[in-house]
C-alpha cells in the first residue's frame, strides 16, 4: 500500500519506522534536506524534499496513487490544509495530527467533515488516556481494552516476592481456578507464548487477557490489588497534563500540577479550576516533599525532558509513592529506565504509531476478516489484535484444538453477542464473533494468517 507521510519529526519518524516494518511503500516529505537525507539513508523509503503545500511536491511524491496521506508536520492548521490538498489531488484517505486543545470535539467534527479527513489524531490526548487507564487500575503497567470493553489485556511485572514465582501455568490454573489467561511472558527481552508447563519466575513481565471483573478478582487473590488512585501529582504542565487532569478531575480524582513556567500555570488554572496548580521547580526534592509527595497515590512525570522525567520518577519511587508513571519518548532511554526499576513508561509517539498501523492494516484488508483493534504489547515484541470474523471455511466452526495454528499464536478471547468466552480446546469460532489473537514476533494481516500454511 502506498503511504505518504508529511513531516518527519519525532512522531513522523516513528510512524514511518513502523509502517516500513509493515512492508508498505512509503514516501516521506519534509522541507529539511538533512532530515530527508537521514531518513532515506536509514529506511527503505523514498524522500521528497519540499513544502507539503506545494502541489508539485505532492505530485512528485505520487499523491494520486497514494492510499493514505498522513500529515504530522509542525502545526495543526498546516496538517489540515495539506490533508485537504492531498485529498483533492487524489489521496484516498488522510490522517492529520491535530493536537491543540482549542480544537474541541465539535470543531473537530466540523473540520473533519469539511477537510474530508479520515481521522484526526491527537498524540497527547491518546497518551493522557492511556495514563488515565493505568491510574484507574494501578497494579498494571499497561492496559489495553478491546472493543465494547469485553476483554482487557493487562501487563504487569512479577515482583521479587511474588506468589506466582516458581509456579507452572497449569499449577496456576489449578490453584486459582480463574478465567484469566496468561498470554505472553517477557523474560530478558525474549518473548514466550507459554504452554502448560511453563514456569513463571519473578522479574517476568506477564500479560493477561480476561474480563475486567475476573482480573480484579485475581489481583485480589494474589494480593496485588491496588486501589484506584485518589490523589495524583503531575510534574510538568504540558498538553498531556492538561488532558490527563481533565480526565482525572471529571472522575473525581484530585490533581496537583507542578510547573515552573508562571504563564503556563496561569493558563492551566484557567482551564482546570478543580486542579491545584503549583508554580515551582519540580526538580527540587524538598519542594516535592513539601507538596506532599509521600501522601500521593500516584506520581506522573510529564515534563518535556525524558531525562528529567526518569530521574524524578526514580526519586518518587524511593519515597514509596505506590504508582509512578513517566513519559519517555526516546526508545533507548525507555529501556534504560526500565532497567532502573521504573516499570510504567508511556511513550506518546508509540501510541500514535499503534493507532496508525491499526488504521493501515484495516485499510489493507477490508475484504477478509479485518483488524478491529491492534495493540503492540510487551514493549513491541508481540501484538494483540481483535478481528471480526467473516465466514471463512478454514476457521469457522472448527473446534480450536483441531485448528493448525502457527507457532507463537494464541487465541486469547472470543466475544459472541456480549457473551465472553475464554477459549478452550472445544470452543469454536463463529461468523460475527470478535476474536482476540496474541501473536509474538509476527504480523497478522487477517484472521486466516493464524493458520499454518
Amino acid at each position: 500500500m502506498k503511504i505518504i507521510i508529511s513531516g518527519c519529526g519525532k512522531i513522523g519518524a516513528t510512524i514511518l519506522e513502523s509502517l516500513v516494518a509493515e512492508g508498505h511503500d512509503i514516501v516521506a516529505i519534509d522541507n529539511n534536506q538533512s532530515v530527508i537525507q537521514e531518513i532515506t539513508n536509514v529506511y527503505d523509503v523514498m524522500g521528497v524534499c519540499g513544502n507539503c503545500f506545494d502541489c508539485d511536491v505532492l505530485e512528485e511524491a505520487g499523491i494520486s496513487e497514494a492510499e493514505l496521506f498522513i500529515a504530522v508536520a509542525g502545526s495543526d492548521e498546516s496538517n489540515m490544509m495539506s490533508c485537504f490538498l492531498a485529498r483533492k489531488l487524489g489521496a484516498k484517505h488522510t490522517i492529520a495530527r491535530i493536537r491543540n486543545p482549542e480544537y474541541n470535539d465539535k470543531s473537530l467534527s466540523i473540520l473533519r467533515h469539511h477537510f474530508e479527513l479520515s481521522m484526526s489524531i491527537n498524540p497527547e490526548r491518546l497518551a493522557a488516556h492511556e495514563i488515565f487507564n493505568i491510574l484507574k487500575f494501578p497494579s498494571a503497567v499497561k492496559i489495553d481494552s478491546f472493543s465494547r470493553r469485553s476483554f482487557e489485556m493487562i501487563e504487569f511485572r512479577l515482583k521479587d516476592d511474588s506468589v506466582l514465582d516458581g509456579l507452572t501455568l497449569s499449577g496456576f490454573r489449578d490453584k486459582y481456578k480463574t478465567q484469566v489467561l496468561i498470554c505472553c511472558v517477557l523474560r530478558d527481552d525474549e518473548i514466550f507464548i507459554p504452554g502448560g508447563n511453563f514456569v513463571l519466575k519473578s522479574g517476568d513481565k506477564i500479560s493477561l487477557a480476561a474480563t475486567h471483573t475476573d482480573i480484579t478478582k485475581l489481583f485480589k487473590e494474589l494480593g496485588l490489588s491496588q486501589k484506584q488512585s485518589k490523589n495524583v501529582m503531575i510534574l510538568g504542565g504540558s498538553r498531556i497534563s492538561y488532558y490527563l487532569s481533565e480526565m482525572l478531575a471529571s472522575a473525581g480524582i484530585s490533581v496537583k500540577i507542578i510547573d515552573r513556567n508562571e504563564k503556563n500555570c496561569e493558563l492551566l488554572s484557567d482551564l482546570l479550576p478543580k486542579a491545584v496548580i503549583i508554580n515551582a521547580d519540580g526538580s527540587q526534592q524538598d519542594l516535592l516533599l513539601e507538596e506532599g509527595l509521600t501522601t500521593m497515590d500516584a506520581f506522573v512525570s510529564l515534563t518535556g525532558m525524558d531525562e528529567e522525567n526518569i530521574l524524578i520518577s526514580i526519586f518518587a519511587a524511593t519515597q514509596n509513592v505506590p504508582k509512578v508513571i513517566s513519559k519517555v519518548n526516546k526508545d533507548e532511554l525507555a529501556s534504560m529506565a526500565e532497567k532502573l526499576g521504573l516499570d510504567t513508561i508511556v511513550s506518546p509517539k508509540k501510541i500514535v504509531s499503534d493507532v496508525i498501523i491499526r488504521y493501515a492494516r484495516a485499510l489493507r484488508n477490508s475484504l477478509g476478516s479485518s483488524v478491529e483493534t491492534l495493540y503492540k504489547v510487551m514493549d513491541g515484541h508481540a501484538e494483540a489484535l481483535e478481528f471480526i470474523v467473516k465466514d471463512d471455511a478454514r476457521i469457522v466452526n472448527i473446534p480450536l484444538k483441531n485448528l493448525r495454528l502457527k507457532k507463537n499464536i494464541l487465541i486469547g478471547g472470543i466475544t459472541r453477542d456480549r457473551k465472553r468466552i475464554v477459549p478452550g480446546g472445544n470452543d469454536v469460532i463463529l461468523p460475527g464473533d470478535h476474536v482476540i489473537i496474541i501473536a509474538a514476533n509476527q504480523r497478522l494481516q487477517e484472521l486466516a494468517d493464524i493458520l499454518e500454511k
Partner: protein
C-alpha cells in the same frame, strides 16, 4: 567496520557470477567449443569461493553503513574481475593473467579496452563472456542482487549509491528492490529491442547479441578487428541510436513508462546531453567535409563516433585516429564529459558538468557582488551546498588521480598522445584512445605494471572513485570499531 556483512555480500556476488557463467557455457556447447570446460571450472571456483564466504561469514549483524556499502562494492568488483579472468587463462586463449585481468576489468567496467591482437581467433564462448561482462557491469551486479533477492539487510541504499553513477542518486519508487527491478526491466527490454533490430538488419544472432551487450553496457567489445566498420549503414545507425539511448538517465524511461512524459521532457540534463551531441556532430561534419566521399557518409561516421565516445562505448566505424586534429581533440573532450548520471555510461557525467558550470557562474557573480545570495538550481530544484561541494571535490580528485596515473603510465615511454588518451580512455571507461591505442590498435604493448594501473583506473572510473579509494584506505580496515 562490519567485516561479516562485507564478506557475506561479496560471497553472494560470486555465487551470482557462478550462475552468470552458464550463459557463455551454453554458447560454448552450442558451438561445440573446448572453452566450455574453462568456463565450467571458473564457475565452480566462483561458486565454491562464494559458498565458502557466505557460510564462514554467516551474517551476525546485517547493518550496512556508508563504509560497508562502499567496501562491498569495491571488493566485489575486484574479486569478480579476478574470477571473471579465469576462463581466459584456463583455456589458454589469453595466457597471461595480467592480460586476462585487464580484459575482464575492461569488460565489467564497460570500458572496452582490449589487449587482444587477433579477436577473430577467439572462441565464441569466450567472446560471449567478454561481452556479457559489459552487460552485467553496465547496470551493476549489486543492483541486480537487490532486484532478485529480498532485502538482505538494512540500509542497502548505500550499496546502490556506491554502484550507480552520478552525483545524486534517487529512487524511482519507495522500495529499493522495486527500483532495482524497474531499472533492470528497462535495461532488459531495451537490450531485447536492439537485438531484434540488429537481427532484422542482417547481423547474425550471435553478433547481434554480442554487439547489443557492448552497446547496452556502453562497453565496446566487438568480435571484429575493425569494430563496427564492416557492417551496413543501417546497422551502424541502429547502434548509434542505441548508444545514445543507453547514455540517458534511466529514471527518464521510468517517467515515460509512468506516463509522466512531460516531467521527463523537462530534464535539463538530457537536453544538455543532446545539445552537446548535436553541436559535436555538426562541428566534426564541417571539419571532415573533404575526408569522406559523400555527406551521408561523413554524417554517419561523425554521428557514430560522437555517440560512441560521449557515451563512453568505444565502438568505431572508421579509424578516427586519421581524422583532423580538431575532430580528434573534440572527441577527447567528449571522453571526459561522458553520458548522463544514472545511465550505463562513464566519464564525469553531464549533470556534474552542468553543476560545475553553474557553480562557477555563481562564484563569478559572487565576486562581482560580494553580498549577493544565489542558490544553484538544477532540474527545477535548489541544490544544496554540500552537493556542489561534493561535485567540486570529485572534480579535483578526478584530475589529481588522472595526472598521477598519467605519470605512472608514462614509464612505458609512449608518445604524449598515446599516454594521455590511454589513461583518459581507461579512466572514463571509453576504450580506444588515439595514436598507438587508437581504434585500429590495442593495449597489448603496455607493460604489466601499466596494465594493472589502467585496470585500477577503469575500476576507479566505473565506481566513481570513492569506493575504490576508500576500500584501500588503511583507516577503514585498521580499527575494528569503526
Amino acid at each position: 567496520m562490519n567485516y561479516s556483512i562485507v564478506f557475506y555480500m561479496t560471497g553472494r556476488i560470486l555465487q551470482i557470477e557462478a550462475l552468470l557463467f552458464t550463459l557463455p557455457m551454453v554458447t560454448a556447447v552450442f558451438y561445440r567449443e573446448n572453452c566450455f570446460f574453462a568456463l565450467l571450472i571458473s564457475a565452480l571456483i566462483a561458486g565454491a569461493v562464494g559458498f565458502f564466504l557466505t557460510t564462514v561469514f554467516k551474517k551476525k549483524d546485517s547493518m550496512i553503513y556508508v563504509k560497508e556499502g562502499m567496501t562491498i562494492v569495491a571488493l566485489a568488483w575486484i574479486l569478480m574481475s579476478v574470477i571473471g579472468a579465469l576462463p581466459f587463462v584456463i583455456s589458454g586463449e589469453i595466457p597471461s593473467f595480467f592480460d586476462a585481468f585487464f580484459e575482464t576489468v575492461s569488460g565489467f567496467t564497460t570500458t572496452g579496452a582490449s589487449i587482444l591482437t587477433d579477436i577473430e581467433a577467439m572462441s565464441k564462448g569466450l567472446l560471449f563472456w567478454r561481452s556479457f561482462t559489459h552487460w552485467i557491469g553496465g547496470m551493476g551486479v549489486l543492483v541486480f542482487i537487490m532486484a532478485i533477492f529480498p532485502q538482505e539487510s538494512g540500509r542497502s541504499i548505500h550499496i546502490m549509491r556506491a554502484e550507480m553513477p552520478g552525483p545524486i542518486i534517487g529512487k524511482l519508487v519507495p522500495k529499493i528492490r522495486e527500483t532495482a527491478k524497474i531499472l533492470y526491466l528497462i535495461y532488459i527490454v531495451m537490450t531485447v529491442i536492439e537485438i531484434i533490430l540488429l537481427c532484422v538488419g542482417g547481423m547474425s544472432i550471435f553478433e547481434s547479441i554480442v554487439h547489443t551487450f557492448g552497446t547496452a553496457g556502453t562497453g565496446g567489445f566487438g568480435v571484429k578487428a575493425d569494430s563496427i566498420g564492416g557492417y551496413s549503414p543501417y546497422l551502424q545507425w541502429v547502434i548509434t541510436i542505441f548508444m545514445l539511448l543507453f547514455g540517458i538517465n534511466f529514471n527518464l524511461y521510468y517517467l515515460i513508462l509512468a506516463k509522466k512524459i512531460k516531467t521527463a521532457l523537462k530534464s535539463s540534463e538530457m537536453w544538455c546531453y543532446f545539445a552537446i551531441v548535436a553541436i559535436s556532430i555538426t562541428a566534426i561534419c564541417i571539419n571532415l567535409h573533404s575526408v569522406y566521399g559523400s555527406f551521408s557518409e561523413t554524417f554517419r561516421h561523425s554521428s557514430f563516433q560522437v555517440a560512441s565516445i560521449i557515451t563512453t562505448t568505444g565502438y568505431a566505424t572508421t579509424d578516427f585516429n586519421t581524422w583532423p586534429e580538431f575532430s580528434k581533440m573534440l572527441l577527447v573532450a567528449l571522453m571526459f564529459i561522458g553520458g548522463c548520471a544514472g545511465s550505463t555510461a562513464g566519464g564525469l557525467k553531464v549533470s556534474r558538468i552542468i553543476l560545475l558550470v553553474k557553480a562557477v557562474f555563481r562564484d563569478l557573480k559572487h565576486t562581482l557582488h560580494p553580498r549577493s545570495v544565489a542558490s544553484v538550481k538544477f532540474e527545477g530544484k535548489k541544490i544544496e551546498r554540500d552537493t556542489i561541494n561534493g561535485v567540486t571535490t570529485y572534480f579535483a580528485l578526478y584530475f589529481i588521480l588522472f595526472f598521477l596515473m598519467l605519470v605512472l603510465i608514462s614509464l612505458d615511454s609512449f608518445d604524449f598522445e598515446t599516454t594521455f588518451t590511454a589513461t583518459a580512455a581507461c579512466f572514463n571507461n571509453v576504450g580506444p584512445g588515439l595514436s598507438a591505442v587508437g581504434p585500429a590498435s590495442n593495449y597489448a604493448a603496455f607493460s604489466n605494471l601499466s596494465k594493472m594501473i589502467l585496470s585500477f583506473a577503469m575500476l576507479l572510473g566505473r565506481l566513481e572513485i570513492y569506493p575504490m579509494l576508500l576500500a584501500f584506505a588503511p583507516a577503514l580496515w585498521r580499527n575494528k570499531n569503526h
